[in-house]
Point group: C2
DNA sequence: CCTACTTATGCTCTAGTTGAGCAAATATCC
DNA sequence: GGATATTTGCTCAACTAGAGCATAAGTAGG
């Protein structure tokens, strides 16, 4: 039977290591990729159950929060996956992508499975040290867009040159432009005109960098209206810990005093009464998640990108 | 071969009729359902292409904007679909749901295909005439939640009893509560304890009411950060037309003068110079979409639900 | 102990945004 | 012409968010 459809599951498992967002990756012959498992309708009542099952079997990790991201089914994505799924090259491989958050980056249990920083794969998404790194990228993009107004407009919108400025959640728009312009390693593999590569991590399996970009954008957007950051920061924490986590996810820094004002206004946290040691300064009060009062706000009020970290 | 996986496509095609949001539905033996088509990996390079193809063949409509909503794959959803997909009852039927917007509710071309108002299927999502209709629903929900604090908290959050008030985009949360509490027709069909039914349109096919709830919530949320409303309101339009459309989608009314201030501030519209006739009052200026200047805001600044329409 | 330095925390000030309503303009209906 | 309806311009107060000053309370090194 030719041209079957096979359903796979991909997980973008994210956890913080020292305040930096990391993603669980698998080293394969063709480069880094996301954990992948076939979906078995007999064993798994839902996609999410299937995803948790194969992650826990491949990696010795237990996941916390999870949500469906997107289902990837474009023709042409399967070739690099055929060997993974045990199917034939003519099969259409559809992947249901999931975002999963873990409160700690535990041992992966296997050598070929590793935690990788988000920003190893997306250096242009980290604006905490300023925007100098963005210059060459914009130059390369503008060269690609030469004379084409619609490309120029897309670039301006995605990379924060327009009125609304840098929108951290548009990571996928930025990746798509980079891919089309041939600035990511996959572009060359897939036969697109290659410019200078702006990520030096090698090509990622299939469309896994796209899936990761989707996850980054989704999580960043979600921070503003759901208290998901606590899924990454276990109790107890200081407000500086929380801020560092938020800044890591957002990829830019926020005003310290305003951040604490915003967090305290949500009613989502409570002081434990303890303080943290060894901060090299005044000890910070420790906080924990409040058992969510129904009267609480649902997300953090976060500013947009202004400047680099102090 | 038992337990195959079959991929289907579902479209939530939305258009306005007289300012009211409608959805394209198909009348089947078991009640109203969404247009459904099998995904054929040979003929269709992407899901979206497949979805557009089967919609245009089933309904004589051409779609405009489209986006993927969610992929529905839970066990148990397939039984009511088996006859549609020509598969066996043991197949797992996975549906990729799409939201599609059409600038006009044209003729459907077939008798069993009809435009149905969103609010025929979700009466509790329409708050334009006030909140009296919500009373009995809340009573029934609270009866179901009796003594269970977590259920009560979910109800309060979903139905706007908490601090942040009514959040129009949480249509799916509300539907899930209604389903669990046995207040929608599908609950009885699926063997859940049935309370009083709060929608009298009969059970919808499979989980199609859930897919519709997902679409309503997605579109409502999107209004705030993308100018999607223009996909539903063709040029030229008056600001009152635009406001009526927004109110129809949101399910509540907004302050007229503030709405125009917000729209004009986006830079997304321009006056055509013409005026509309027969409004029964001062003629309204006609507007059209501006060729989006890169300096434009990306969505409308919309208020939250305050009171019923004036 | 004293000084320099670091981080945490409290508070204020200002600019901008948002919610609400008054009032005038310009049509239709009788 | 007068009543009524709708559009449109404008003002004002309350609230929000961005930025910075000042103080508190530790550590590190003499």
């Amino acid at each position: 039977m030719q041209h079957r459809v096979v359903i796979g599951l991909n997980a973008v498992v994210t956890a913080l290591m020292g305040g930096e967002p990391h993603v669980l990756c698998v080293r394969r012959e063709d480069g880094w990729g996301l954990p992948y498992g076939a979906f078995d309708p007999v064993r798994h009542r839902t996609f999410e159950i299937g995803m948790r099952d194969f992650v826990s079997r491949q990696t010795a990790l237990t996941l916390g929060y999870a949500e469906q991201l997107y289902t990837f089914g474009d023709e042409g994505r399967e070739a690099p996956l055929a060997s993974l799924s045990g199917g034939e090259a003519s099969d259409r491989i559809v992947s249901v992508g999931y975002l999963a958050l873990s409160p700690e980056a535990g041992s992966t249990g296997r050598r070929e499975v590793a935690w990788r920083s988000w920003y190893d794969h997306f250096p242009w998404e980290d604006r905490r040290r300023g925007d100098e790194a963005l210059g060459p990228i914009l130059d390369a993009l503008m060269a690609w867009a030469a004379g084409e107004a619609s490309r120029q407009a897309r670039i301006a919108l995605a990379f924060g040159q327009a009125e609304e400025g840098w929108q951290e959640e548009r990571a996928l728009d930025r990746y798509e432009l980079m891919y089309e312009a041939g600035l990511v390693p996959e572009a060359e593999r897939d036969g697109h005109a290659g410019g200078r590569r702006m990520a030096d991590d090698g090509a990622m399996t299939s469309d896994h960098r796209r899936i990761l970009a989707t996850a980054i954008g989704r999580l960043r957007g979600k921070l503003r209206y759901r208290p998901v950051i606590f899924e990454l920061v276990p109790d107890p924490f200081t407000l500086s810990d929380l801020q560092e986590a938020v800044e890591g996810v957002l990829g830019f820094c926020v005003h310290k005093q305003n951040f604490r004002r915003a967090v305290e206004a949500t009613g989502l946290v409570r002081k434990t009464g303890e303080t943290a040691q060894g901060t090299g300064g005044r000890p910070a009060a420790l906080y924990a998640r409040a058992r969510v009062p129904v009267t609480a706000g649902l997300g953090l009020t976060l500013p947009r990108l202004r400047a680099e970290c102090a």
